[in-house]
Amino acid sequence: MTTETLLTVQDLEVTFNTPKGKVHAVRGVSFDLGRERLGIVGESGSGKSQTGRAILGLTAANGSISASKMKFHDVDLANLTPKQWRKVRGARISMIMQDPKYSLNPVMTIGNQIIEAYREHHKVNTKEARHRAIEMLEAVKIRDPQRVFDSYPHEVSGGMGQRVMIAMMLIPDPELIIADEPTSALDVTVQLQVMAILDDLVRDRGMALIFISHDLHLVSSFCDRVLVMYQGLVVEELRASELHNAKHPYTKGLLNCLPKMNGNHDDLPILEREASWAEG
């Protein structure tokens, strides 16, 4: 880990206009990111995904973003034209979504989708792109890359689909990966295998990673640093190894309410929410 800062986010706010009025999804999130692994954890509606999407300018049309500063190296992410975004998305920052079933194009072979991702940012001929795509499928530990290359997304399993997603997102060699619940739809062992692949690739290529998840334990065993979000606010930031020393009652409550394998059938402690946590 170096001290070089890749991404600076200050006072990020995301607001949605809905028929029922304004919804304040993210309320003043700030953080700096170096070449490290940052986890963002929270329950549904905490604003963790919206934070990730805002960094890539993927907020839905009825939403608006404001930030006093949102910079990736010297690129000001707050004021990019669609054309400038295309130079950033995929090439320099890319995103792995939760469910490969819905994030891959169902009517295009996996190979062609990876080639498309690569050629969008690299001027190479088809043969070279094909070669790179197969190499990338090997890198995500797919045993029979040629078969998967020619398959359609519905022909592969969930774990395989997510490896394909990782291959596609990593092939343009971005500096920052935002992974939004990349393994939540997978079985536990497959989930850990996919994370190991992501771990190795991110480490070998010196990428930074933002890992968004609802699973506090998983994130802290995988990341260097964790932001805990509640109702659009970061309520606590801690080193992943210091999770057991969490101070905020929300973080503690989340840890306590998990069932434990200690053979104890007593009632689980219930998370009692306090109104003050949601005050900025």
Binding site: S44, T189, L192, M195, S221, G253, M261, G263, I270
Partner: protein, 254 residues
């Protein structure tokens, strides 16, 4: 309460349950754990009559089940499904959702029963005339539990009842299920992919892989981590969080 022996089931040519034996005493709580495709949900679906092609014996409260389930069976056994978004009719009010089983079984007095069922699952009476989309995931799962309870069954089949919920809501629903079992003397078979949930809720546990029970354990054995089958050991390690070195020891069980 429930005795299952040599249960086999097929989806067309696909042999999905292989010689499954389960025995659950009255007021017991039995947990089935496994990954997708292990057949854990199929066991519940076969008991409740949603699978046609099966062989073996299933006995519930002394009665051996045939190919069809009658109304009496459903008064005794009810199922709660995983997805509280998909299992409630979107255009029926909670009141109508809860009244329907009462009418089907001709129990009468539906008004008082609906009030009682909502109370049992800790929902305020104000929810009674709302629609499912006006409720949160946890509240919907409580409605699904209330719908099962309204027939005063003795057995609940729980198919991943909390896996679609946030952990803080999961804790509330698990506590509710624990309390209901104590108060109403219910018998549970609970299916989950989460070892910790099953260890917390159940006395006896079976670990399934590819349609077969590969290992049985008590909650105490799980607590001590003394599992013998390599597949169960792998599941146990995976539940401990991410550890790069541990992942390298994983093998595929295809």
């Amino acid at each position: 309460m429930i005795e299952i022996s040599k249960l086999n089931a097929w989806f067309d040519d696909n042999h999905v349950l292989k010689d499954v034996d389960i025995s659950v005493p009255e007021n017991g709580s039995f947990g089935l754990v496994g990954e997708s495709g292990s057949g854990k949900s199929t066991v519940l679906r076969t008991i409740t009559g949603l699978v046609d092609d099966w062989e073996g014996t299933i006995t519930v409260k002394g009665n051996q089940l045939g190919p069809k389930r009658d109304k009496d069976f459903y008064r005794l056994v009810q199922m709660v499904f995983q997805d509280p978004f998909g299992s409630l009719h979107p255009r029926h009010t909670i009141d109508r959702i809860l009244t329907e089983p009462v009418n089907i079984h001709g129990l009468g007095n539906s008004d008082a029963r609906v009030v009682e069922a909502l109370k049992q699952v800790g929902l305020d009476n104000a929810f009674r005339f709302r629609y499912p989309h006006q409720l949160s995931g946890g509240q919907r799962q409580r409605v699904a539990i209330a719908r099962a309870l309204i027939l005063e069954p003795k057995v609940l089949l729980l198919d991943e009842p909390t896996s679609a919920l946030d952990v803080s809501i999961q804790a509330e629903v698990l506590n509710l299920l624990g309390r209901l079992r104590r108060d109403l003397g219910l018998t549970y078979i609970m299916v989950s992919h989460d070892l910790a949930v099953v260890a917390h809720m159940c006395d006896d546990i079976a670990i399934m892989n590819h349609g077969r029970i590969v290992e049985r354990a008590t909650a105490e054995q799980l607590a001590e981590g003394t599992l013998e089958h390599p597949y169960s050991q792998q599941l146990y390690k995976a539940a401990g969080g991410y550890d790069r070195a541990v992942v390298d020891t994983f093998v595929d069980w295809d």
